[in-house]
């Protein structure tokens, strides 16, 4: 079946999503959305394995609750792409806004450039469902806050100097999952409940497949990246509140 093209010029997100669902129901595997200009909720709750190419700038909550499809964005994305996403892949050839990959429970979000504040907040994992967020550029404060599972990799590729990561509240309240930051992080950036150390060769081996896939998407050289040192940030405890309370 040839790719289905939808011209979203001036279209509200509800009819747009209805057309996407219709195309998927009719067996489309490739859907191209033309002239996207801020429509929210693209692919919201969508299931299946279709690939959706977004030409333009999608609005917030791209791929929210999505289970399976791939969304490729040629442009920047607004806040919270991959919000509570279940399975599938979102690839953004640009930057994305705050709360990218918020509460994601499975699948992958790859952002070539930067993300906003609170990236990967409250991501969680269960058995073989492990969400992955890879960011090529920089992230703002509260990266991985409340993180309960999953994996965040921050590559900081635009950072030529050896400046350590210096955004506050890193992994604040983390009680599951792990974060890898290329290079070092300032001690003061670490939020409550998190601990940092240099990544071991075993750690690096575990993230290598995602870095390779990321590089393949965006045309970076994985060898150069893997040659760098990384800092691993992980929770001190899976029970951060176990000692906070006394019985009445």
């Amino acid at each position: 079946m040839p790719a289905v093209e939808i011209d979203a010029q001036g279209m509200h997100y509800t009819p747009l999503n209805r057309q996407i669902r219709e195309a998927v129901t009719n067996g489309a595997t490739e859907i191209v959305l033309k002239n996207i200009m801020g429509q929210r909720f693209i692919g919201d709750g969508l299931t299946g394995t279709a690939t959706i190419t977004v030409e333009g700038v999608p609005g917030g909550d791209l791929g929210m609750f999505m289970k399976g499809p791939t969304i490729i964005v040629h442009g920047n994305a607004d806040h919270a792409p991959g919000n509570t996403m279940d399975e599938g892949l979102i690839v953004i050839y640009g930057s994305s806004g705050d709360a990218t990959a918020h509460s994601m429970r499975g699948g992958k979000v790859y952002v070539r450039d930067d993300i906003g504040y609170r990236g990967g907040i409250h991501m969680k994992q269960y058995v073989n469902k492990k969400p992955v967020l890879v960011v090529g550029g920089e992230a703002h404060a509260f990266l991985g806050e409340y993180m309960a599972g999953g994996l965040i990799i921050l590559l900081r590729l635009n950072q030529n100097t050896n400046m350590p990561f210096a955004e506050m509240g890193l992994a604040s309240g983390i009680h599951g999952g792990e974060i890898f930051v290329r290079g070092t992080v300032e001690d003061w950036t670490l939020g409550i409940g998190s601990a940092a150390r240099e990544a071991t060769p075993e750690d690096l081996a575990s993230i290598k497949p995602y870095i390779s896939e990321f590089c393949e998407q965006f045309g970076f050289d994985p060898a150069v990246i893997m040659a760098s040192s990384f800092t691993r940030i992980a929770p001190v405890s899976a029970r951060p509140f176990a000692n906070k309370y006394t019985w009445e």
Binding site: N17, D44, G45, H122, G173, H175, A238, F241, Y245, E248
Partner: protein, 503 residues
């Protein structure tokens, strides 16, 4: 040991003349009060929480439990509770954690409101003979109806109606998650609401497969932890509820302690076994009414606009203005949870001191929405401290469309409101995940109890309406003229928009 032992909170006494040494108390007490020693039942009263499981199982009425048999020196300011709280915090340096609802000594407004009845000038209605319309629709109502008249008497409705929940009685069961309570407790309530033609909430714990047969009567919750939320879950629910806040602990999140995260709970919530399940205080994508609107719409998009979306907030100072914002967010109902709402665990300081009573909140919200001409945009569901059919009836008179009950449904299954839900030791098999304890609660039998309670309250509501000469729930809703305030001050009467008795 500076503070040392305190007087017993409960003293357990066994009448050894009555006791037949059956050992049921030993077997039933999960708190470790009883042991059989030297051919006698021995007790450790200090472990007792007064859950009364032992009493309920004792064939000889041989057990007696007394509360605080030893007095502290009486003092109106430095009460026993105040002194003991200081002891505990001086020893631990920790936040006091409590279960169940508000223990503060606040007057209950419901108990200072009285209902009306007909005498002479307008006849009362006998619900035994006359039909009483209790069916309630929860969701958006159109501002006006557009009709198209065809040939003859043919009339076509042009206005597009949005999906509402159809309740056969305005009593629903609120959100208590699998995790906080057992699957058997959820099963019992799910059977009861299905039988009674009403609905219950899942809480933020996902929807266990065993509940799928009752999914048409389940409201699925999306809270800040997003536990168990996926498209399958959203599609199964009859409606979706966004939980912003909870009356028992407004402004803070929830923590399901790792002890309660067993294999099955971990599966339903989709988090690792034994890890704390932390619902943060705010939703990380909601910082304004506009953001709320985005989540409401996100959920509606995900379910193709087929499900009503409710928003639940704790009743706090500016509840009316907040509810007006929610009404404009596209939500179909606003759930207002008063400061007497129950919980499995909450910091006692929040449970007892934050939020406002549901009676004032309902009145304020209903008034504000009517003033702004948007009362039809949302239904109002009231919860938090609905103890009996009189509270239900008064809540509707104050402006609620329906109520959620919580604690009352648990009490119908045996709960004695001992308030130690967070210890995972509930002897009644309700607020625990321990398999041997959960097995004590037979879902089929408990369903009959819960269903009986809903049925009994529904009958009483119909009787009260009949006595007031009202035969339709619509005529009762917001009908504050059928209420009078007894010993309420003028300011309170103004907020409630209710006259004083005799006026």
């Amino acid at each position: 040991m500076i503070i040392g032992s305190r007087p017993l909170k409960f003293q357990v006494m066994v009448d050894h003349d009555q006791c037949m040494l059956c050992g049921r108390c030993v077997e039933n007490c999960s708190y470790g009060v009883y042991r059989m020693e030297d051919g006698k039942i021995r007790v450790n009263s200090r472990n007792c929480v007064a859950c009364h499981r032992c009493l309920s199982q004792c064939p000889r009425d041989a057990i007696m439990i007394a509360e605080r048999p030893c007095d502290y020196r009486n003092h109106p300011v430095w009460t026993d509770q105040v002194r003991e709280n200081i002891f505990k915090q001086a020893e631990s340096g920790k936040i006091l954690l409590g279960g169940m609802g508000n223990t503060g000594d606040y007057p209950i407004i419901f108990d200072r409101l009285v209902l009306d009845a007909c005498q002479v000038t307008n006849p009362s209605i006998d619900p035994l003979r006359e039909p009483m319309e209790l069916r309630t629709f929860i969701g958006k109502k159109p501002r006006q109806l557009e009709l198209k008249y065809g040939p003859g008497n043919d009339v076509e409705l042009k206005t597009k109606l949005v999906k509402n929940l159809q309740l056969e009685t305005p009593i629903m069961i609120g959100h208590m998650s699998y995790g906080a309570i057992s699957l058997n407790a959820q099963m019992a309530m799910a059977k009861a609401v299905s039988e009674s033609g009403t609905f219950m909430g899942t809480g933020e714990g996902g929807l266990h497969e065993a509940l799928y047969p009752y999914q048409n009567h389940m409201i699925v919750q999306v809270a800040s932890g997003r536990f168990g939320v996926d498209v399958n879950y959203l599609d199964r629910g009859a409606a979706i509820e966004i939980k912003i806040g909870q009356g028992a602990k407004p402004g803070i999140g929830g923590h399901l302690p790792g002890e309660k995260v067993c294999a099955d709970v971990s599966c339903t919530r989709m988090i690792p076994e034994g890890s704390d399940a932390i619902s943060p205080a705010p939703h990380h994508d909601i910082y304004s009414i506009e953001d709320l609107k985005q989540l409401v719409r996100g959920l509606k998009e995900a379910t193709e606009w087929k499900k009503p979306v409710f928003v639940k907030i704790a009743a706090v100072h500016n509840v009316a203005a907040i509810a007006a914002g929610i009404a404009r967010s596209g939500a179909d109902a606003v759930v207002v949870d008063g400061f007497r709402g129950g919980t499995g665990a909450a910091p006692a300081v929040f449970r007892d001191h934050v939020g406002i009573p549901i009676e004032a909140a309902i009145a304020a919200v209903d008034t504000k929405l009517r003033q702004q001409g948007i009362r039809n945009e949302v239904s109002i569901i009231a919860s938090g401290g609905i103890r009996q059919s009189a509270d239900l009836t008064k809540a509707i008179c104050l402006g609620a469309d329906a109520v959620y009950i919580g604690t009352a449904a648990l009490v119908a299954m045996g709960c004695r409101v001992c308030g130690t839900c967070y210890r995972n030791l509930c002897t009644w098999g309700i607020a625990t995940q321990r398999p041997d304890l959960v097995a004590r609660l037979n879902p089929d039998e408990a369903a009959v109890n819960v269903s009986n309670l809903i049925h009994a309250w529904t009958l009483e509501l119909a009787e009260l309406m009949g006595a007031a000469g009202i035969n339709s729930i619509e005529s009762l809703r917001g009908n504050r003229d059928r209420l009078r305030g007894y010993m309420l001050d003028e300011t309170m009467l103004d907020v409630l928009d209710v006259n004083a008795v005799g006026a």
